[in-house]
């Protein structure tokens, strides 16, 4: 899937204007070689030819030449201006927004990208777009300055708090391309990114319809945890993140900030994803945002499966990894089965909330 081959010398060219940027790049390289090689040859030639033959010699004095000075001021100036004109053309191509583009809303926050499509789909650290379609990102940030950077598209723009900035592109080649944050934004800056998936229209329509991949629940959960939802940026395995490490947590007793102790089971995880402020692990700040509306019940099940798999002994005692449905909440919400598509987010939230409060009430 990855188009960035192992040849580490030139990036993929996957947007309608990438070739223009590359052409400008090669033009400036040509200018550099013209002057660079010229100067290097002259320096080498003179350095060889006029090396010292007599110690402390007094070579002939040459004061300078106005003709030469004017020549080597004017020629570089003219060439610099051609670069300017070419560069300005490319600059406007990249930064003048087309009127007929499909808009995607982007919110940056430490340290994840949140995308929302016009049709309602939300994504985190992933952006699915159709090929040969103009896309315009309407971007802002919840905290510090970030920067959307897609090297294969040759474009980027800062995302600035308190205002909207814009970026547009038209992908020309289906594939999976790096998405980076290019403006330093703190601790997990280098983890703030993911992938842009450029899809054929048919695949894109499928994706919109919610067809998912053939990953096992644990794999899907791991993908959500580490990439798509960015959970791992705070819940680091080392325990040094802003949230507790979840390694080996499942099935253990967890002390809470209110002094109580709770057994970590499926419903506790479910609640912590949708209503994180309810029960805070001891020693941590209540800073986790809710993922209500961003994850489906299916995805929560996958996350639970993954978190279980982080503690193999507990996973065995509570059931098989492939059993994705949470046990406890399932009993209470039997009348409203969790939704299975990721389009009707509103209806999935309700049973989830009920589930969480019921589960808490039972304890």
């Amino acid at each position: 899937m990855q188009n960035n081959s192992w040849i580490p010398l030139f990036p993929d060219q996957a947007s309608s204007f990438a070739w223009q940027v590359d052409a400008l790049y090669f033009y400036i390289i040509a200018v550099c070689l013209f002057f660079g090689i010229g100067v290097v040859i002259a320096v080498f030639w003179f350095a060889m030819k006029y090396r010292e033959t007599e110690k402390y010699a007094s070579p002939e004095e040459i004061h300078g030449s106005n003709v030469l000075e004017i020549t080597w001021t004017a020629i570089p100036f003219i060439i610099a201006m051609t670069i300017f004109v070419f560069g300005t053309y490319v600059f406007f191509t990249l930064y003048r927004m087309p009127a007929d583009a499909t808009e995607v809303y982007v919110v940056g926050k430490q340290w994840m990208w949140k995308f929302q499509h016009e049709t309602g789909q939300r994504e985190i650290n992933e952006l699915h777009i159709p090929v040969n379609t103009k896309i315009k990102l309407v971007m802002t940030t919840e905290d510090v300055i970030h920067d959307v950077f897609i090297p294969a598209f040759r474009t980027k723009a800062d995302v600035v708090p308190g205002r909207y900035t814009y970026l547009w592109f038209e992908a020309t080649k289906p594939g999976k391309y790096h998405l980076y944050c290019a403006e330093y934004c703190g601790l997990n800056h280098s983890g703030m990114g993911g992938w842009v998936y450029v899809m054929e229209q048919r695949d894109y329509d499928n994706w919109l319809a919610g067809n998912v991949s053939n990953q096992t629940p644990v794999e899907a959960g791991q993908d959500l945890f580490q990439n798509k939802l960015g959970c791992a940026s705070c819940h680091q395995d080392t325990g040094s993140g802003r949230g507790p490490s979840l390694k080996g947590l499942f099935g253990k007793d967890q002390k809470l900030s209110n002094g109580q102790t709770i057994k970590v089971d499926e419903s506790y995880i479910h609640e912590s994803i949708l209503n994180p402020q309810a029960q805070i692990a001891e020693g941590f700040q209540p800073i986790m945002p809710t993922f209500k509306g961003q994850v489906t019940e299916d995805q929560i099940n996958q996350l639970v499966a993954y978190i279980k798999s982080l503690n193999p002994s507990a996973a065995n005692s509570t059931g098989s990894n492939s059993t994705a449905k949470p046990n406890a909440p399932a009993a209470n919400t039997a009348t409203k089965p969790p939704a299975t598509t990721n389009t009707n987010t509103n209806t999935t939230v309700k049973p989830a909330a009920n589930t969480a409060s019921n589960a808490r009430g039972n304890k």
Binding site: P8, L24, S58, E61, F149, P151, H189, S190
Partner: protein
């Protein structure tokens, strides 16, 4: 021309007293008003901070050998590159050449006894040390992770309070820089020896004059910016933070209004050194003296009007971007003019390949790459892809290390005998100059390619397919480190067991070579009178006949 000989002294007997043995007490150093001793204090201080910054550089390169952040975790890595940047920029690159070599040689090269304000000169060293120690303490003890650019709102709202302490350090150092610039301008205007007209000044002096202009005009702006940053953080005045009505882009404008010209504070003095080296080791007057001199002034002036090229992708107006783009391409022209004139100076010269000249050749190669790659970044349409990637890192290291550090090392070797009276090992000097050149290119050239491939800067972990080039870069850093450590060893050794270098080992005409090595506290035995043009290698330039000198030193 006999009246000019008064400048030189009777070489048959060595004077008992020079600036180094004129008092050994601690107070005679710490309370000295002698520009040469203050320069030596600066030399030791900037060398210390350079090594400290170098250790952080080594940590960065070691971490980046592997794609994952394994050697340093992300939080530590962020603090390390911040420390590297702040220390290298504020504590080494900006003061390195003006405060050491400039301090030592500006008075000597214009025939003055000292700088115009010796006490202010000493004060500037104390300010530098105070600011430097505050900043270094905050960086290492508190851990500041904002990057040396301190962008808001990260620095005002989201990082720890040590940012302010670091800012205080930079604020104080700024005043040291302003005082040095002020001192140079007054000295160059008022203390030139009789006969030392403006167009007889060595180009080292012209470049320091241009540098001083930037120091006194630009540095107050960074002081203001730091002050506003502190007010924003402490009193929430609402100037930068959008949450309370401020504008984060305004900070970037203010920051780069100083910090871009600061690049010219770093590079111009180095260009001055290169002009000296190329003229003197080709034994020729510099080609197009006036053009080289005025190109320094042109760089200083136009350099104030290009800061917006750091903001091409930040959301500033596209029309502002175009103005900054065209001005940036224009500021490349005086640098090109300098390069062509240096090259032309070699023509029909009598070129020798001593260590300082190897550094000058090295400079030409590296500055060529550093300067030309600036064309990519000054071109707005090109910069969008390259901004905040390793292309930027490579470019500014070619300019700052490839030009400033190489020029500094070249100057240090060139004048070492004058500063200490001792001769360093020419053999090790040449080896280290070549190692630095090779190591430097191996470290930073791959980063241009990494940048175009899209590796963002300030990343503790990166995509796996980029590892090969990163390994090259780290290997190069190893070679570079060896090349940088060697001069520390052989220059120090020369103080212990180096041979006496003689007053004028290369038989050069500059005023600094017409006094003893090391010079006496008052610089010259009799007030010099200048009757020759700059870089006058003719037989009647007032020096002793070359044949006798050749016999004496060979």
């Amino acid at each position: 021309m006999m009246e000019t000989v008064a400048v030189t002294r009777d070489t048959s007997k060595k004077p008992e007293l020079h600036y180094l043995n004129n008092g050994y007490s601690v107070a005679s150093w710490l309370l000295t008003k002698d520009h040469k001793r203050i320069a030596m204090l600066y030399l030791m201080s900037v060398s210390f901070f350079f090594m400290l910054g170098g250790i952080f550089a080594a940590l960065i390169r070691l971490e980046l050998m592997t794609p994952n952040s394994d050697l340093l975790e992300a939080g530590t890595y962020n603090r390390v590159f911040t420390a590297h940047g702040v220390i290298m920029v504020f504590l080494f690159l900006i003061p390195a050449i003006p405060a050491t070599l400039g301090n030592f040689f500006v008075p000597l090269m214009i025939g003055a006894k000292d700088l115009a304000f010796p006490r202010i000169n000493l004060l500037s060293w104390y300010l530098y040390m105070a600011g430097g120690l505050i900043a270094a303490y905050a960086l290492m003890n508190g851990g500041v992770d904002t990057g040396w650019t301190f962008y808001v709102p990260y620095s005002t709202t989201f990082s720890n309070g040590w940012v302010l302490v670091t800012g205080l350090g930079a604020f104080v150092i700024g005043f040291s820089s302003i005082l040095t610039g002020l001192n140079f301008i007054v000295t160059i205007h008022t203390m030139r020896a009789p006969g030392m007209t403006w167009f007889r000044l060595p180009l080292f002096i012209w470049s320091h004059y241009a540098t001083s202009l930037i120091m006194i005009l630009g540095t107050p702006v960074v002081a203001i910016t730091i002050l506003l940053l502190a007010l924003e953080r402490v009193a929430k005045i609402g100037i930068f933070d959008p949450a309370i009505g401020g504008d984060p882009i305004l900070f970037q404008h203010l920051f780069w209004f100083y910090s871009h010209p600061a690049v010219y504070i770093m590079v111009l003095p180095s260009m001055g050194i290169i002009s000296e080296l190329i003229a003197n080791f080709s034994r020729k007057r510099i080609f197009g003296y006036e053009f080289v001199a005025f190109s320094s002034i042109a760089i200083a002036v136009i350099g104030f009007l290009v800061w917006g090229h750091h903001l091409f992708v930040s959301g500033q107006s596209v029309y502002a971007a175009l103005v900054f783009s065209i001005l940036t391409l224009v500021v490349a022209i005086p640098s090109a003019v300098k390069t062509f004139n240096w090259t032309a100076t070699l023509y029909k010269g009598s070129i020798s390949y001593d260590t300082p000249m190897l550094y000058a050749f090295s400079f030409l190669g590296l500055f060529l790459i550093g300067g030309l790659t600036g064309l990519f970044l000054g071109t707005a349409g090109m910069d969008i892809h390259l901004s905040d990637t390793y292309f930027i890192i490579a470019h500014f290291h070619y300019v700052m290390v490839g030009s400033t550090v190489i020029g500094y090392l070249g100057g240090l070797h060139y004048w070492w005998s004058k500063m200490t009276g001792k001769q360093y090992s020419e053999f090790w000097g040449k080896i280290s100059a070549m190692l630095v050149f090779v190591g430097f290119n191996l470290t930073f050239f791959p980063q241009f390619i990494l940048g175009y491939l899209g590796m963002p800067r300030r990343y503790a972990s990166y995509a796996e397919e980029l590892q090969v080039l990163n390994i090259f870069s780290t290997a190069g850093a190893g070679v570079l480190a060896v090349g940088m450590i060697m001069p520390v060893i052989y220059l120090t050794m020369s103080l212990i067991n180096g041979k006496d270098a003689g007053d004028n080992p290369w038989h050069l005409p500059g005023l600094e070579w017409r006094t003893s090595s090391p010079p006496p506290t008052e610089n010259f035995y009799e007030p010099p009178v200048v009757t020759w043009e700059a870089y006058d290698f003719s037989e009647d330039n007032g020096l002793e006949p070359k044949k006798e000198v050749a016999k004496e030193t060979v």
